[in-house]
């Protein structure tokens, strides 16, 4: 009440961002660059942090050139450790920024951990963990969690990387004592085949398999499991949005709160929402009053004024000056 209307965190964070009571934040306490294109961050979360389960991810926000950007990252450390570790592969805006700029003392905004790519409470006896590239993180977290728990069942970790130098935290992986199979796509082994599967874990049909990696690997493994009729034994996690942005007035628009959908006609989101029978709040219909601002949860929109594309999930858009490009979901 004394801090009304801004709330106490808005004052505490000016002393230090980590003092915020309600908001979840994490401070970088250590930074390693164990491969040429990744960075591993050791993070100590603030008091509000509620932990994570191995395999889950966290939405991490950083400010890049004044704009807050949010991306998902899966902790790679054991869920039983204090704090957690992220391994980020530099590939675009946020990941490259982190690789260049992250240093001890950097404060990140965090969401609570989310996602159901997790191990069952009773740990399976036989586990196969398959990953490729940066997809190593959630399964590495599972492996390290099982190690901390003294898991005695059989675990095989099959990882695809260009070569050994590109495997992040290789020493940590070796130290777990579980069977580690590294396939080097640049050298002899090439890309995934069914033969790899049989060689690494002949019992894979009775095991539970967790898979995370680039699209090629995901497709290859999924096809084999489908063919053998054991698709139910495979759990997957996708790091990339599944619908690539298709151009123009195609796709469908989902108004998630009201549960309505319609075909994208290429007109403004406000007009399309109205044709779908919704009555979204609005005012000027020309982009100045912001009454029509709503959250876009997925998909790409084009700003009618600047022509700029916005393909980031969970960003706010003005319905009256945004045209959907392909399939889009709006929280309306």
């Amino acid at each position: 009440m004394l801090a009304t209307p801004h709330g106490i965190d808005r004052y505490l964070e000016l002393i230090h961002p980590m003092l915020a009571i309600r908001e979840q934040r994490g401070i970088v306490t250590g930074v390693h660059r164990t491969t040429p294109d990744t960075i591993t961050l050791r993070i100590r979360p603030s008091r509000a942090w509620r932990g994570f389960t191995a395999g889950q991810h966290v939405r991490v926000s950083v400010t890049v050139d004044g704009v807050r950007r949010t991306r998902c990252y899966s902790p790679a450390s054991s869920q039983h450790a204090r704090g957690f570790e992220l391994t980020v592969k530099a590939s675009g805006l946020v990941s490259s920024w982190l690789r260049e700029n992250a240093r001890p003392g950097l404060v990140l905004d965090l969401s609570p951990a989310e996602g159901d790519f997790t191990l069952p409470a009773t740990r399976p006896d036989k586990l196969l963990l398959i990953s490729g590239g940066s997809g190593i993180t959630p399964v590495m977290s599972m492996l390290r969690t099982l190690t901390d728990e003294g898991h005695t069942g059989e675990v095989v970790f099959l990882h695809y990387a260009t070569d050994e130098a590109h495997v992040p935290c290789l020493d940590t992986l070796r130290a777990t004592g579980h069977r580690l199979v590294l396939a080097h796509t640049a050298a002899g082994s090439g890309h995934f085949t069914e033969a790899h599967l049989r060689a690494a874990a002949p019992w894979f049909a009775e095991a539970t398999t967790y898979l995370c990696g680039p699209p090629g690997l995901m497709a290859g493994v999924t096809a084999v499991f489908d063919q053998l009729g054991i698709a139910d034994r495979l759990r997957t996690e996708d790091f990339r949005p599944s619908t690539p942005a298709d151009p123009g007035a195609v796709g469908r628009i989902t108004f998630s709160r009201s549960g309505r959908t319609c075909d994208n006609t290429g007109r403004s989101l406000l007009e399309q929402a109205e044709s779908a029978g919704l009555r979204p709040e609005h005012g000027c219909r020309m982009g100045i009053c912001l009454s029509c601002t709503r959250r876009k949860t997925a998909g790409t929109v084009r700003d009618l004024r600047s022509g700029e594309l916005n393909d980031e999930d969970d960003t706010e858009v003005q319905l009256c000056v945004s045209v959907p490009v392909g399939t889009v979901s709006i929280d309306l």
């Binding site: 009440m1 004394l2 009304t4 209307p5 801004h6 808005r10 004052y11 000016l14 400010t63 050139d65 004044g66 704009v67 807050r68 950007r69 949010t70 005012g283 000027c284 020309m286 982009g287 100045i288 009053c289 912001l290 009454s291 601002t293 004024r305 600047s306 960003t315 706010e316």
Partner: protein, 373 residues
Amino acid sequence: MSGKRLTPEELDRLGAELDALRQRVVDDLGQADRDYLLTVVRTQRALEVAGRGLLFLGFFPPAWLAGVAALSASKILDNMEIGHNVMHGQYDWMRDPALNSRTFEWDTVAPAANWKHSHNYVHHTFTNVLGKDRDIGYGILRIDPEQRWHPYYLGNPVYAFLLMVFFQWGVMLHDLEVERLVSGEKRWAETAGVRRLMWRKGLRQAVKDYVLFPALSGPLFVSTLAGNATANLARNVWAFAIIFCGHFPSGVASFTEEETAGESRGRWYHRQLLGSANITGSALFHVLTGNLSHQIEHHLFPDLPARRYPMIAPQVRDICARYGLPYNTGGLARQLGSVVGKLVRYALPDRWWGGTSGPTRGTVGSGRGPRAA
């Protein structure tokens, strides 16, 4: 004063030039704008904490005075350079949930949600359109000769004075749309939503300033209460003065609904240009006005960060010069004097001043002449 009449083609070119100017600024937004806003926020929070702290030493008159000064400055920064501008969505591109137009609340009794509707939508969309822009005289004053005189308006200067003193409450009550309730256009029951927000926000603010902080200062209850009230008053007077200079000095045009029906982007810009006035002053003065001293730039581009207004002002002036449009600007004393003059003048029926009182019509390029007042 309303400048040269423009053809539809000229208006289109004007629109395109201003759109391009806006786009250049948008493309350039970045860390510097964020750093600026964060500096203002930090300064405001520091002033607030210092002001409230000093009032605990209110038995010592210099501390009391310094406390009131710091708290007044905090409220002015919070309402003007931070609140007004953040709630315009000027910083939404930063995607910072704490500085977003959807979530921000300011340190005044008017609830953000109500204010955003009447200000961002009604006032900024229908700027100076008689019968539509409820900010013309705020429903209680006569500031434009097109508003029909009525004996009620004899009290014009008194109402304005009261509005100045209780400005934050005036801004809050503005959203009840009392004049539409009186005229029967709107029913009391329709105000339930805005009233609920007003109660909540008004109560919280009043309890904070007039009960909690005074109570915390124990024996200094009255001294702290007086300090907080003075800070609120200082902010009220300041905000009133700046805002009244934005649209009411002489030379500012008003428009009719039929003039603006179906207007193009260029014509909309044209109306914003003619309907606003700037105030000259130092850099610190501009910050303390929330850069509303650049009301013209603000009305052209309400969603650009206000710190950009002084930077683009020379370009806007240049455009005005090339299209033969007036660029209404002057010192605070002159603009305020002209507002006071109008408040007094329009208190009395027009015939007192010998009929037509030289209003400025926003003659747009439709070939229609200025309407006789």
